[in-house]
């Protein structure tokens, strides 16, 4: 397991570079045992409930954000044989089409990497302390949580 499993940052990330990095071991060499790499990227949509989204502001709970995501990652490692599992989540002001979150998993075979990505996203959506606020021409409003997100946890 590598260091820096969780990064919370305001700067954009380079998804391609992060994906390549999943294959590297702690000493920087390529892990030849990696047969499967799965990733997920969450992006800012242009429309939400009809109004044009202009800016999205991501607030978070420093300390708890990292802890909760590290816990989710730990749970995934306990469930599946993973060589690597990493999450990057942005905070601050984002615009439509910006990338908000990146989850990457590496394993020997595909089932672990694919399942771990989905698992991490499902739990992050309901447990990681971030809050989105939309700034639109019509005014500011906090994005509401979706019942579907809590429901998604049940399949695990």
């Amino acid at each position: 397991m590598n260091d820096l499993q969780v990064r919370i940052q305001s700067e954009p990330f380079d998804a391609a570079e992060e994906t390549r990095a999943l294959r590297r071991k702690a000493d920087g060499t390529w892990d030849a045992g990696v047969g499967a790499v799965a990733t997920f990227i969450g992006t800012v949509r242009d429309m939400n409930e009809g109004d044009g989204v202009r800016t999205l502001v991501l607030e978070h709970y420093p300390g708890m954000t990292e802890k909760s995501i590290a816990e989710i990652i730990g749970e995934a490692h306990a469930r599946w044989p993973l060589m690597n599992l990493r999450v990057i989540h942005r905070i601050g002001e984002l615009k439509p089409a910006d990338e908000i979150v990146w989850v990457g998993a590496a394993s020997a075979h595909r089932e672990a990497a694919l399942s771990a990505c989905a698992f991490v996203m499902d739990f992050l959506k309901s447990r990681a302390p971030f809050w989105k606020k939309e700034k639109t021409p019509q005014g500011d409003r906090w994005v509401a949580s979706r019942d579907k997100d809590e429901e998604a946890l049940k399949r695990w």
């Binding site: 969450g42 991501l58 607030e59 978070h60 709970y61 300390g63 708890m64 802890k67 909760s68 989540h89 908000i100 979150v101 996203m121 992050l124 959506k125 309901s126 447990r127 990681a128 302390p129 971030f130 809050w131 989105k132 606020k133 906090w142 994005v143 509401a144 949580s145 809590e150």
Partner: protein, 84 residues
Amino acid sequence: MIQLRLFASLRETTGVEFEEFPLPAGIATLGQLREHLRARGPVWAEALDPKRAIRGAVNQRMSRDHDVISDGDEVAFFPPVTGG
């Protein structure tokens, strides 16, 4: 002392981001603290009303009403999360 943190719309409604105060006598759980804060006035009573979906954390771990709080703890209340 208890360190209280509020986030998102809850912070905006109450006007409080962070507060430190002694753990009130008789308050031993997260739920009891929530009720204690509601007694501050109508804004707090409404914002932390049981019918509102409000989440709590003790020492940065997601917690429930029955979870114990002790002197020195960091307690946070916030709306359901919307990350990802």
